[in-house]
């Protein structure tokens, strides 16, 4: 079925490259959210390794041909984490990096939640709980067409409280959609606090197991452990897989880590600078988004 090779996944991204990239993507994400004065840093930062491993090493896709029908698909069911996804898509060339500076702004390309009209975005999301059904639909179509494309869907852990997720989980299993992988960003937090306190999800692996999934747990901040999980998911036949990726909300920025309060808050100038310093350490990283935003900041702008 495949005719032309895909530029991604790309061999050049080894762990060192990914690691550097992840730092940059974290910075971009925070710069974007600072610039927008709103957005969701916590759940974006917890997904950085999950998404960069996926977008650079696994997902078969082509920024020059965003509509290629034989591409793999990614549905960001936890749509509020779109800053990190937008940062990746911009870095890969789906749209100009400049757009990152206009996140959530009138006239900008990048909406507060993912919209299908944005190049590289495979589904409109933001109303939680809807993504896995969409992924299933794509996967069913792929089976009909004899296509070997794979669909990936990233869900929040709090999001799993939406009943539609379990409706969709039944459907994935019933139709033996081994071309669907659900990834749960298990950061343990939702807006109102700890998931186990707001509305407990444990025993979570048992839930997915009893809904017919092959369940894989992994460290959601370790590239190698994520690869192990992704490989196992791709290798599992006859049933869908669910990867429970254990993460920390706000990972990479000490004062944001595991803090529910950083779910949907934009960092101040000082907080942004502190975060960038912490993320970059002595490594010099400068994306064009960072240049713009941090330049403005330094220049006393805004």
């Amino acid at each position: 079925m495949k005719t032309k090779a895909f530029p991604y996944p790309a061999v050049k991204y080894d762990d060192a490259a990914l690691e550097k990239l992840a730092r940059r993507l974290r910075c971009d994400t925070l710069c974007m959210i600072h610039q927008a004065s709103s957005g969701h840093p916590g759940g974006s930062l917890s997904s950085v390794e999950i998404l960069s491993t996926l977008y650079y090493q696994y997902l078969r896709h082509d920024p020059a041909n965003p509509e290629r029908t034989d591409r793999d698909r990614f549905v960001l069911s936890k749509g509020h984490a779109c800053p990190i996804l937008y940062a990746i898509l911009a870095e890969q060339g789906y749209f100009p990096e400049e757009e990152l500076c206009h996140l959530r702004r009138v006239g900008g390309l990048l909406q507060g939640h993912p919209s299908l009209h944005i190049p590289g975005i495979d589904a409109s999301t933001g109303s939680l709980g809807q993504g896995l059904s969409l992924a299933n639909g794509v996967a069913l179509a792929a089976k009909l067409d004899g296509s070997d494309l794979h669909t990936w869907c990233l869900l929040g852990d709090g999001e799993l409280q939406e009943g539609q997720v379990w409706e969709a989980a039944m459907t994935s299993a019933h139709y033996k959609l081994d071309n669907v992988t659900a990834i749960v960003d298990r950061n343990g937090l939702q807006i109102d606090g700890k998931t186990e306190k707001v509305m407990a999800l444990e025993p979570l692996a048992e839930k997915w197991l009893s809904f017919g999934f092959h369940v894989i747990e992994c460290d959601g901040h370790s590239f190698s452990d994520l690869r192990r999980a992704y490989d196992e998911a791709l290798a599992t036949k006859g049933k869908p897989s669910c990867i429970i990726a254990n993460t920390h909300k706000g990972h990479g920025v000490s004062f944001m880590t595991d803090q529910a309060g950083w779910h949907g808050k934009s960092p101040s100038v000082e907080q942004l600078q502190a975060a960038v310093t912490e993320i970059c350490g002595d490594k010099k990283i400068e994306s064009s988004c960072m240049k713009t935003v941090l330049g403005e900041v330094k220049g006393g702008g805004r």
Binding site: R73, D122, A123, S133, N136, V138, L140, L144, A168
Partner: protein, 337 residues
């Protein structure tokens, strides 16, 4: 704009033929057949259901002998949210999904999914909204779809078509299959009079004058209320000397404001007749359109903002005064005010 037609030009069945029970048809029967035909011709057509395949007749795809067709049917069980989402996913991958359930559950148990998963990305999902109105019958209030027009009409990108009768359904299917964006087709449950013929025109986005009248009154109507409204118009013409226009608002969204306003200009007053709540449905759509173009006094003949009760379909039309005698009575009441 010139008035598009007269009854004759519309090539409708005579009301006597329409009243003949032997000619009555249930939308689901013609829908199922049309769907099967479409699936045979178009490999990208798929059908989904939420445990109501026999009722909606999406079972025609499921039970097709040809496996290349039957494999394009997906039952998701009793889960309307997942039904709509899965349909949207199939559309994302280039399919033309026909998503089926009872109107009340399809529109009302998955409204948030229709909004974000379908309408916002403007995907070509087709909704087979069977069991519209109160002629759902004995299942009662929980099963009546009498707010579906109101809640779907407010969704950007949504196209909302109302099937006049069983005979028109295949025509609607054919006309909308390649429509760019979501389409909801509202259909009745039981066998009901047929007024359209193979020659009666249907175009998405058009309203049609089904009866030319005098200078007094226009009756705007839709779906299976068209027959009863035509009947009522005859009675009013014969017994009251009022000669009403009857306009079939075949597509409720986008609304054919031109036709609606052009007829309004010919008359003193209008009534809107629909098997739907008087709030927010066709009545709301027509009132908005006319207030914006040619304000006309309007009476609203529909369900008067209540849940109603169980009963046989025909009994219910009588009880809620939506059969021809009931419409006549309510129009008279309106005119005498």
């Amino acid at each position: 704009m010139a008035l598009n037609s007269t009854v004759k030009e519309m090539r409708l069945l005579s009301l006597t033929d329409a009243a003949n029970r032997e000619n009555w048809q249930a939308c689901k029967v013609t829908y199922g057949a049309a769907l099967l035909k479409l699936a045979t011709e178009r490999p990208e057509v798929v059908a989904l259901d939420a445990d109501l395949a026999n009722s909606t007749q999406s079972s025609r795809i499921r039970d097709a002998k040809d496996e290349s067709i039957s494999r394009r049917f997906f039952d998701v069980g009793i889960s309307e949210q997942d039904l709509v989402g899965t349909g949207a996913g199939l559309a994302l991958a280039g399919k033309i999904p026909y998503v089926n359930s009872f109107g009340v559950f399809l529109s009302g148990r998955a409204w948030g999914q229709i909004r974000v998963s379908v309408c916002y990305p403007n995907l070509p999902v087709r909704f087979g909204g069977s069991y519209g109105g109160i002629t759902v019958g004995p299942d009662g209030p929980t099963h009546f779809a009498i707010s579906d027009i109101a809640i779907l009409r407010s969704l950007p990108n949504m196209t909302l078509v109302s099937a006049t009768d069983g005979a028109q359904v295949p025509k609607i299917i054919e006309a909308t299959v390649d429509y760019p964006g979501p389409v909801y087709i509202r259909m009745g449950r039981v066998p009901l009079p047929v007024v359209t013929t193979a020659e009666t025109p249907f175009e998405t986005g058009r309203a049609y004058v089904y009866r030319k009248g005098g200078g007094e009154l226009v009756l705007y109507t839709t779906g299976h209320s068209v027959y009863d409204t035509l009947e009522a118009a005859e009675i009013l013409a014969t017994e009251d000397g009022i000669d009403p226009w009857v306009v079939n608002v075949n597509t409720i969204k986008p609304l054919d404001v031109d036709t609606i306003a052009t007829v309004a200009k010919q008359v003193k007053r209008g009534c809107v007749v629909e098997e739907h709540n008087i709030y927010g449905g066709l009545g709301g759509a027509v009132a908005e359109a006319l207030a914006g173009s040619h304000p006309l006094p309007l009476g609203f003949i529909g369900i008067e903002d209540e849940f109603c009760e169980s009963g046989e379909p025909m009994e219910l039309l009588r009880e809620y005064k939506l059969d021809a005698p009931g419409i006549v009575e309510r129009v008279r009441g309106y005119l005498s005010k």
